[in-house]
Amino acid sequence: MSDYGPVQVRCPVLNVRRVDAYYAITVVAPGIAERFRSGQFVSVAVGGDHSSTLLRRPFAIHDVKPDYGGTVEFLFAVRGTGTAWLAERRSRDLLDVVGPLGRPFPLPRDPVNCVLVGGGSGSAPLFPLAQSLRRRGCRVDFVLGGASADRVFSAITARRIAETAVFTTDDGSFGTRGRVTDVLGRVIEECRSDVVYTCGPMPMLRAVTAVAGTHGIPVQVSVEETMACGTGICMTCVIPVVGEDGITRMVRSCVDGPVFRGEQVRFDDVGTIPFDALGAPGWKGAGSSRPAESARDIA
């Protein structure tokens, strides 16, 4: 958990680069850089002061550097209006950025073997994670996937920082044709992985969690739910997560996540209120022995 709360800064754009199918924006934001822990994200206001697109866009932090007092880089694919607008930013433009937000990836105490599994832009937060793990003496292996070669993120960097790096594409244009989960089992075995870290679309997280389960190793997943606030006040980003006490709660993926233990996310029930979730229709609290309300209380 980060020691400091997030900050809101109007920060200058240092540069905007194209990287394959993605754009990378670096902003000067010392306050965010100094607080950052890998797995956290920023949320960025888009469209200017009189924009009709009211909501911030969340992006994982991909890199933090000490230059200019502290810079923060995030990467994105153009998807809709907000990302199209961001792609048009130029150096010296100002961006209104809030961060760092969310629970970071928990780091192992001991120098264990870690496999990092990313899909598309979801690979972004795994790079600073890889660095942190390496600094702790962990072995890092990468499995990165994407729809096509230009959507597999930073293959070269992955090869450089990891012990091994395996790539998959849906169309076979790069690496193995198929999905990350087609190769993950083999990687876990060959690299004797002790833990999986993963970020990408929900179906991938679920499949990765299943593979980790088969191999009996823990998995940390970082989810991408739509978020209106990113700061924990709107309750729009909830997913069903089972607590240590066995009780399912609808928890906010922005502040209680985006990183969760994969086994605790009820992937099959995302998009529903499971009947046995705390406070679900028909649910009955057991009077004074009512379970604690938030995943936080029991953390």
């Binding site: 709360g5 997030p6 900050v7 809101q8 206001a45 009709s52 697109t53 009211l54 909501l55 911030r56 209104d96 809030v98 739910e225 739509t226 209106a228 606030c229 700061t231 924990g232 006040i233 709107c234 309750m235 729009t236 980003c237 909830v238 997913i239 709660r249 609808m250 502040v255 995302v270 998009g271 529903t272 209120i273 979730a277 705390l278 406070g279 679900a280 229709p281 649910w283 609290g285 009512r290 309300e293 938030s294």
Partner: protein, 313 residues
């Protein structure tokens, strides 16, 4: 110039008119990372229910032009956790608390009022009349039936500590908002809050599916500001003595001026807290500057100014 920013909502005096809207600021803890929660007029807490509620399935939100649709469905921990954990936190930091309550029936509203009145330090109770009325065969909200809404208000009033102001929170998409306001005032509401979100819908043109689960969601944000200002204006015209908390799309200090001129005594920031977590203090600063630029010495002088042609503020 030393502008007097104080405003009154019945027995409750606030240091300034900028408050948060229910459900758009939690109970202040998260926004306190961005500013000192004691600096704003008050925090209106997320509507609390008697029991924990898990809320509605996802997707719970969609962006719309200058607004958003949401369906959180009153997710919350229930009144016990609220009183043990959230309220003490807010009061300990010097925040003023307007506690919003949502009952799954009239009796539950009464019970909530009783529980909350027992806590010292609460500033006011806000009655969320946009909850579905379990007694209504069509699943309508209390706000859709002025008589049922008034019954809730009077139950809350009789269960609440007598010195604690009770505010009725109105919806705009009701048969007649002025009639609803009059009914609530007659049921001894000390003030009115308006407006809640307006029912609307979006369909995702990519998937052709409703963009929020369940189809209909609540529209909020600057898009609805003209509806909100219209309600405040018409209700203030009908009930000039009843204090109003105006809300709906407040984004700038100028919007606070607009709501107060229409008849609001205080103004709540809702959705814009999501897009700008320091919005409340920015809005307050802009509002203060606007008063200074106009030479208005007391914020209260603005209230209802748009009803008085040629008013000299």
């Amino acid at each position: 110039m030393n502008t007097d920013l104080r405003v009154r909502l019945g027995a409750l005096e606030l240091p300034n008119p900028v408050v948060t809207a229910a459900g758009c600021a939690g109970s202040g803890r998260e926004l306190a990372q961005f500013f000192d929660i004691a600096d704003i007029g008050a925090v209106t807490t997320k509507s609390v229910m008697l029991e924990p509620h898990a809320g509605r399935p996802a997707p719970r939100m969609a962006e719309t032009p200058s607004g958003m649709l949401s369906t959180t469905g009153m997710q919350g921990p229930g009144v016990d956790v609220f009183l043990q954990r959230d309220l003490p936190w807010l009061l300990a930091r010097g925040g003023r608390a307007i506690v919003s309550v949502a009952g799954s029936g009239t009796a539950e509203f009464g019970e909530l009022a009783r529980r909350i009145s027992a806590e010292p330090g609460v500033g006011a109770i806000e009655v969320n009349l946009s909850c579905p009325d379990p007694a209504d065969p069509d699943g309508r909200r209390f706000a859709d039936d002025a008589a049922r809404a008034a019954a809730v208000v009077s139950t809350v009033r009789s269960h609440a500590r007598s010195d604690l102001p009770v505010l009725a929170k109105l919806a705009a998409d009701v048969p007649d908002v002025v009639a609803l306001a009059v009914a609530c005032a007659e049921a001894r509401a000390d003030g009115l809050s308006m407006i809640n979100t307006v029912r609307g819908m979006a369909v995702d043109p990519r998937t052709l599916r409703p963009a929020v689960a369940g189809g209909i969601g609540g529209l909020s944000g600057p898009a609805i500001r003209p509806l909100a200002v219209g309600c405040v204006y018409r209700v203030h015209e009908a009930l000039p003595e009843v204090p109003i908390i105006g809300m709906g799309g407040v984004r700038t200090g100028g919007d606070v001026v607009e709501f107060m001129a229409a008849g609001a005594s205080a103004v709540a920031v809702g959705t814009v807290n999501f897009s700008d977590p320091s919005a409340c203090v920015r809005v307050l600063r802009e509002f203060t500057e606007a008063l200074e630029a106009k030479g208005v010495r007391r914020a209260g002088d603005l209230v209802g100014a748009a009803h008085r042609p040629g008013v000299g503020v």
